[in-house]
């Protein structure tokens, strides 16, 4: 291709824009993991007994498990004893009640990220439960949500204020023994978000949480639980960016979604954690278990994700389509550059009759990155007239990278229709030529084509995320044309 080599080198060499560390004092556990650490963690968070028991039970399960190695990932062995399992910003006693009370340094961090919390909250009507290194520091729009009867709070608060809901729903979608990382998370999860939308309520605003990893050597173990009662509706946004760091950081999150009859949950993620440098040094290890359970008839769970960061991504947001006529959706863009590795996809488990699912996955691989789609569509004999459509497209930029597709389809019901399509190609020269001919720079042309490639997914994102996602795409792939 007629690309100007030096331009590309220059562009590829661009540093991670969000690489900075906020200098605040943290209260941090010394590295290591045993039962005592879990007891201390639970005590520190003032948790009821059932929570501690659950954590200890999970820890026992985790100890008997081994880290899975079936994914197409090349991972340095992780020393789980060298990680600190708790880190919180200082002075948790006087948690801020409004933005004015928020540590100005934190606000500064958000400014740097281009997310002015207060302005954004006001302008966009978004309530932000900002998780900063595991402990909730600012919650806005609480009143408005209260009026609607919506519970939206940090997981720790929910454990204290709504223990009955936690006890009822926690681990019912992703049980501790589900997999290695889910078990680890269940034992040591630090904080996260809890959402409960009561019957018939349409949540009055988009809910969003920004997860950030800040303190050095701190594993981040988020746990999110969203319950949409009969006929309710909620759209939840999750976005991530992290400061630059040399050592690999471990992140093992669990997200559980539950929809009752006719309820809808839309879960959107933009993930832009530190991917490591050009040599593949550093970067976040991201092992996430996300699963939604469509329990009620005609309920719907929709996952949208833009995965641009992390050195290693291991993530399969899934839907269990139990309720009759329930719907699962998965829209994903995964971008990998330099030495990034991603093994991501979804599972659609069709159990109920007339269940439907759609999977649109777009993978973009550049530099020396490896990008794999791994998915399962399973149709049980009970899923009469189930329907699945899957489309996986991969775009390769440069001859050092790889793009892989591993779709599993297991069909046990003759009335079901399952369709799968996948393609792999590079950016077509005629498309590039056409754009160049119209006076667009190589860079702009590539951005335009890539954004077009991802359009099917981007248009599923809420407005403000769509803008961020496009910008992110351009940053991640700057000059990676080859």
């Amino acid at each position: 291709m007629s690309t100007n080599e030096t331009d590309i080198e220059e562009l590829v060499a661009k540093k991670y824009k969000h690489g900075f560390i906020t200098d605040i004092e943290s209260e941090t556990f010394e590295p290591g993991l045993d039962e005592d650490v879990i007891r201390r963690l639970s005590k520190l968070k003032g948790e009821p007994q059932f929570m501690l028991d659950w954590r200890l039970k999970s820890f026992a399960i985790w100890q008997k498990m081994r880290q899975p190695n079936w994914a197409k990932l090349n991972i340095e062995p992780i020393d789980y004893q060298s990680i600190s399992y708790y880190s919180a910003p200082k002075s948790p006693d006087d948690a801020p009640k409004s933005l004015d009370e928020v540590d100005p340094k934190l606000l500064e961090t958000y400014e740097k990220l281009g997310i002015p919390l207060h302005e954004r909250a006001k302008l966009a009507g978004v309530a932000v439960d900002a998780v900063f290194d595991s402990v909730s520091v600012a919650t806005t729009f609480k009143g408005k949500l209260n009026d609607a009867g919506v519970i939206f709070c940090s997981f720790s608060d929910a454990v204290k204020e709504h223990p009955e809901l936690i006890e009822k729903y926690l681990g019912t979608v992703v049980p501790p023994r589900d997999n290695y990382f889910a078990a680890l998370n269940s034992a040591v999860f630090s904080d996260g978000s809890f959402v409960y939308i009561p019957k018939g309520v349409r949540c009055p605003m988009e809910l969003s949480t920004y997860f950030r990893i800040n303190a050095a050597n701190t594993g981040q173990f988020e746990r999110t639980l969203i319950i949409a009662a009969e006929g309710s509706h909620v759209s939840y946004l999750e976005g991530c960016t992290a400061p630059q760091r040399d050592e690999n950081q471990l992140h093992a999150a669990v997200v559980e979604l539950i929809t009752e009859q006719d309820a809808v949950i839309k879960y959107s993620t933009v993930q832009n954690w530190y991917p490591g440098d050009e040599e593949g040094k550093g970067g976040i290890y991201n092992f996430v278990t996300k699963r939604g359970d469509c329990r009620g008839a005609r309920s719907k769970i929709s996952w949208t994700q833009v995965e641009a960061g992390s050195a290693v991504t291991w993530k399969y947001p899934s839907c269990v389509l139990r309720g009759e006529g329930s719907v699962g959706e998965f829209y994903s863009v995964a971008v990998t550059n330099n030495y990034q590795q991603a093994d991501t996809g979804t599972k659609m488990i069709h159990i109920g009759a007339n269940t439907r699912s759609t999977i649109i996955a777009k993978g973009i691989s550049a530099g020396k990155a490896q990008n794999a789609y791994r998915g399962l569509v399973k149709i049980f004999p009970t899923a009469k007239n189930a329907r699945n459509y899957t489309q996986c497209d991969s775009l390769l930029m440069g001859d050092q990278c790889g793009a892989h597709t591993f779709p599993y389809m297991e069909v046990k019901e003759p009335s079901a229709i399952v369709e799968h399509e996948a393609t792999t190609s590079k950016i077509a020269e005629d498309q590039l030529f056409y754009c160049r001919q119209r006076g667009l720079s190589e860079e702009d042309a590539v951005n335009m084509i890539v954004n077009g490639f991802c359009k099917d997914v981007f248009r599923e994102l809420p407005m403000e995320f769509a803008v961020e996602a496009q910008a992110l795409m351009n940053v991640s792939l700057e000059g990676a044309v080859g």
């Binding site: 079936w70 004999p381 991969s394 390769l396 930029m397 440069g398 001859d399 050092q400 990278c401 790889g402 793009a403 892989h404 597709t405 591993f406 779709p407 599993y408 389809m409 297991e410 069909v411 046990k412 019901e413 003759p414 009335s415 079901a416 229709i417 399952v418 369709e419 799968h420 399509e421 996948a422 393609t423 792999t424 190609s425 590079k426 080859g482």
Partner: protein, 430 residues
């Protein structure tokens, strides 16, 4: 799965004795010993292995263990239709039958013969060493009594079809082996046909290499007895500008497995694969296709159709693997499955593993029942429901059968496919 090594070692001793009696060359002995020890070390593949996730060979391993040393008695031999002018090699219970075979002569010192008769030929060692690394190939190598060798010299075009028939009449273990070597610009059509009227256990290996600019039509037909096991591994290597058309049809066996590995090693190599599997009753058919594009400007097309009914279970795994050197690869793979009745199952996994950027690769897979709109169309034309169904199912399968090059064989297979499908469709109605 517990293997009794003594059982296998005893069987090997028996095979080695036969080798000695037949005056086979001595280099065979260490090869066989090594292969058996390798096999005993790894044992039968099990469900924990990704490649064997959906196929359980436990019933086969039990039978293999118990009867590996049994000599096979010859009973009623069934030999399928052959063209009068085709070169036929017939093996009954693993042993070559010169009576049933036609006399074969190939110009310019080519070979179309049984392997045992040709072990003194230069390069014969290569036929047996080159067994690939598939899971049961080592067992085949240790135990194989005989097989077919097709060696076509440079620039020779063989007009006649070569029909290799492995027919089994006893409940015994057989280890068929087929070697095909095509020289530069050679051309041939080879049919590998497995057919049995007793519950045999067949572990087959086929090694093919196509020289520069050669052209091969290779067709494998499997019509084993309904209680037999058939596990086959084929490796096909394609040199520069060679072209191979493959048809793979599975109609029989209780458990059938094909590992078809195609290596496109020279630029300009091209391969087309058409597969069909019919599984009804409690049959299980597993087709693994591995297309490895190693060189630039290589092209592959693959199409597999599966029809499942009753408690039949079909498995398909199709991998397109493009190495970094294989720029300008053009690969497409398509798998269509028809589930006719409740209780049937298909597990399909089309895969892409791509390390070169300037490529065009695609795969697709669909699973469903008969298209309601097509059925309706036929009904509006006054075609009765059952006939309409039958027409559509036949059309689905016939697409693959029509790729068979040999006319009389095509007719023969088409008839048996039609008959089987008629029975299947009749089952839906009741």
């Amino acid at each position: 799965m517990n293997l009794d090594p003594n059982n296998y070692r005893a069987a090997l001793a028996n095979t080695l004795k036969q080798d000695a009696d037949a005056g086979h060359p001595e280099w065979l002995l260490p090869i066989r010993n090594e292969a058996l020890e390798k096999f005993l070390k790894q044992g039968f593949p099990h469900n924990k292995l990704e490649n064997w996730r959906y196929t359980n060979l436990a019933p086969m391993s039990e039978r293999s263990n118990a009867s590996v040393a049994q000599p096979a008695a010859v009973g009623d031999v069934i030999v399928p239709v052959t063209d009068s002018d085709s070169l036929t090699l017939v093996f009954v219970n693993g042993m070559f039958s010169s009576q049933k075979s036609s006399s074969t002569s190939v110009p310019a010192k080519g070979i179309v013969s049984n392997m045992a008769a040709q072990l003194d030929t230069d390069g014969a060692e290569d036929w047996l060493r080159n067994s690939g690394d598939s899971d049961l190939a080592q067992l085949n190598l240790a135990m194989t009594n005989d097989g077919a060798v097709v060696q076509i010299p440079d620039n020779i075009e063989l007009a006649q079809t070569i029909h290799i028939i492995f027919t089994n009449t006893a409940e015994a273990n057989v280890f068929p082996r087929v070697i095909i070597r095509l020289g530069r610009n050679a051309k041939a059509t080879v049919i590998e046909h497995h057919i049995s009227n007793a519950a045999c256990v067949s572990t087959a290996v086929t090694n093919i290499s196509c020289g520069e600019g050669s052209r091969l039509n290779y067709q494998k037909l499997q019509e084993e007895h309904a209680r037999s096991f058939h596990v086959a591994a084929q490796t096909i290597k394609l040199a520069k500008d060679s072209h191979c058309d493959i048809v793979n049809i599975d109609l029989g066996a209780a458990i059938a497995r094909n590992d078809l590995r195609i290596l496109l090693q020279g630029s300009g190599a091209e391969v087309g694969v058409n597969g069909l599997f019919l599984v009804d009753g409690e049959r299980h058919a597993d087709n693994h296709l591995h297309l490895e594009h190693q060189a630039a400007h290589t092209r592959s097309r693959a199409h597999y159709a599966g029809v499942m009914a009753n408690k039949g279970r079909g498995v398909f795994n199709g991998m397109i693997h493009v190495l970094q050197a294989a720029q300008k690869t053009d690969a497409a793979l398509n798998n269509k499955n028809l589930l006719l009745t409740q209780g049937a199952e298909i597990d399909t996994k089309p895969e892409l593993e791509i390390y070169a950027d300037d490529v065009k690769c695609a795969h697709g897979s669909t699973t469903g029942q008969l298209d309601a709109a097509s059925l309706f169309y036929l009904r509006t034309r006054g075609v009765p429901q059952q006939v309409a169904r039958n027409m559509l199912v036949q059309a689905f399968a016939v697409e693959v059968v029509q790729q068979l090059a040999n006319e009389s064989l095509r007719e023969y297979i088409q008839n048996s496919v039609e008959q089987r499908l008629n029975e299947l469709v009749a089952v839906i109605e009741t």
